[in-house]
Subunit: 373 residues, 2 copies
């Protein structure tokens, strides 16, 4: 409420213009972009911004990358009052560094902050702070048309008491990591384990926000998927086994639907699905092309199984900032392997989307989705 915020002297947002920069004295060696394990190497600097109920947002600090000093009673460590975002900076053939629709990430981060009872902030100011950080560490953006610099904004409750309540202090920080492909198998089709034994998210929960708790609770099922010879979990929902998402990816089915229409379909944003930036971009691109129907609709495992039996499935793929577009080759469901068509290893629509998206991301195609730093 603007009236409340302006009635106090506490700043309602940090200001990028106030950023205090302390340069690192040493510089780490840059890794080979071909051998990168996702999120394991970090750049020389990080951004930190503190908030307290009494004093509001403090000045942003860009400082040498290093450990955080945290009170052992703090609410991020006990009650998972925490959220994050994931975005990337790409180096183009013109050597310019670009972000991809970064305000979508900022807006989603603000929505997560609201759900987590963490403080709100001005998205444009945070974006400017992140640009300053990426600009300072721009040598870390890989010279590569497949690698990029992953940007991880994080917001934590730092209330140093054990009551379960809205935190009266918080820490926003941003770290940067040069990355290659998210999956260690590279661009090969992924295999998914679909079982209703574990549920990722539910209505009335936090599945549509990027809160830490959605992820920690998923890892157990992920290892059960591996035990069954699959790479990832396809999370189902409800008695009718609705297809929802993969946890690190949204899902798309490209098929001839029950009415005989050629359709690209993905589950709707009904509260249990993460509203992915890549998901939204694929929907918008495909709607521009207008060669087939594009739908946000429910899809069940029996819809999929019937369509496979009737040879109506053309492609299935995941989408996400980490993987961009990742074809699905196989789903293990109720003891049966459902094989999804994958011409070559990267089917035509997935390939077209991957090319279109990465051409924009790397600046090979001009687009107002691209934001030069």
């Amino acid at each position: 409420m603007a009236s409340v915020a302006s009635a106090t002297s506490a700043p309602s947002s940090h200001k990028a213009a106030d950023t205090v920069i302390q340069l690192a004295q040493t510089h780490k060696p840059k890794p080979d972009p071909n051998g990168l394990v996702f999120g394991s190497v970090f750049t020389d600097h990080m951004l930190t911004i503190e908030w307290s109920l009494q004093e509001g947002w403090q000045k942003p600090h860009i400082q040498p990358f290093g450990n955080l000093s945290m009170h052992p009673g703090c609410s991020a460590l006990h009650y998972a009052i925490q959220l994050f975002e994931g975005m990337k900076a790409y180096r183009g053939p013109d050597n310019k560094v670009r972000l991809f629709r970064p305000m979508l990430n900022m807006n989603r981060m603000l929505k997560s902050a609201h759900r987590a009872c963490l403080p709100s902030f001005d998205c444009a100011e945070l974006m400017e702070c992140i640009k300053k950080l990426v600009d300072l560490d721009q040598d870390w953006v890989p010279h590569s048309d497949s690698a990029s610099l992953y940007i991880r904004p994080t917001l934590l409750g730092t209330e140093p008491t054990l009551g379960v309540k809205k935190p009266s202090s918080a820490l926003l920080f941003v770290i940067l990591s040069p990355v290659g492909s998210y999956f260690s198998t590279g661009a090969k089709p992924v295999s998914l384990w679909a079982d209703s034994k574990y549920i990722r998210a539910w209505r009335g929960g936090t599945g549509d926000c990027k809160m830490g708790g959605n992820y920690g609770s998923s890892i157990y099922a992920q290892y059960e998927a591996v035990d069954f010879g699959c790479q990832q979990v396809l999370w189902l929902y409800g008695d009718d086994h609705q297809i929802t998402e993969v946890g690190t990816m949204n899902l798309f089915l490209y098929w001839i639907n029950e009415k005989g229409e050629e359709e690209l379909a993905t589950p709707p944003l009904d509260g249990i699905i993460l509203p992915g930036v890549t998901r939204q971009s694929i929907l918008e691109l495909a709607r521009q092309w207008s060669g087939f129907k594009v739908s946000e609709r429910y899809l069940t495992m029996s819809d999929l199984r019937r369509a496979l039996e009737e040879n109506r499935v053309k492609e299935m793929f995941g989408s996400g900032t980490a993987c961009v577009v990742s074809p699905v080759g196989r789903i293990l469901y109720q003891g049966e392997n459902l094989h999804i068509p994958c011409e070559g290893s990267f089917p035509p629509l997935a390939s077209r989307l991957l090319k279109e998206l990465t051409d924009i991301q790397y600046g090979r195609t001009p687009s107002d989705w691209s934001c030069i730093i």
Copy 2:
């Protein structure tokens, strides 16, 4: 798998006998036990034990209470790979310090660790480490028959990389805080907001484990409860609005049931309810008394409403380590205030249970549930 553990040299548990103690140089003043805000003051020492996949559990360290140094990419901060326990040490009239059924907490912690993909440990060894810590800070156990020393064991994933996976390193720590009543209103009956808009836990999730994500996601609803003039959320489940728990308390209904039987009932442990130590103790005590039926059974809001209309409700109360027993006076449900009978402010069965439990906890009644330090 025992065979796997013994095939490596990595210790499968920390050993209390290896504990390294570094004493604090200064001692903080002890607070007045009457003015304590839950979990806001901590003692002079803490216990920390590190684990890594390569080296297993390291030596336990008891050291001065202080901030933790955490990698900003660590999995406890991004993916809520974290869990905790809550237990108390009580000072009796004989000046001895006792724990209450502490192995139940250790076993539940191990179960949470399994679900969170965090390392397992020997519960008895951890218990011994905690006893050493409480013994060292025993002057902090309040000289009071209502206050106690709250013990907060915590286990965090400290994997310093951003892939969503089982952590290869972890930190177990224990902090201690002298506490009075959990609710700032003291022993007055609490008011609950019952609405199906938010759901705490669901089958296939983590509601039966003490993982951080269960709590962070609940705070938003908690403030909506306050907006509606209630203190806490009564979490409902399913289309029939089953009564589940309060998040910080399990719930009991003492009533004449549909069959005309006098019954003490609490929802069953079906995966969405936290298996509370106080809940279990109340069930066991009440079954020993054998004056009425004691049931773990489903209870819906319409069961409760009908029983209230027919004057069949005798008492309703919550149970938990923090609050022990806390009568419920009012539930706001579908716009209607349901008033629960509360003779005086503490009805007879709740009073009897509170007295019996605290007599054991403070050592006024000998019991093998009590564990002298």
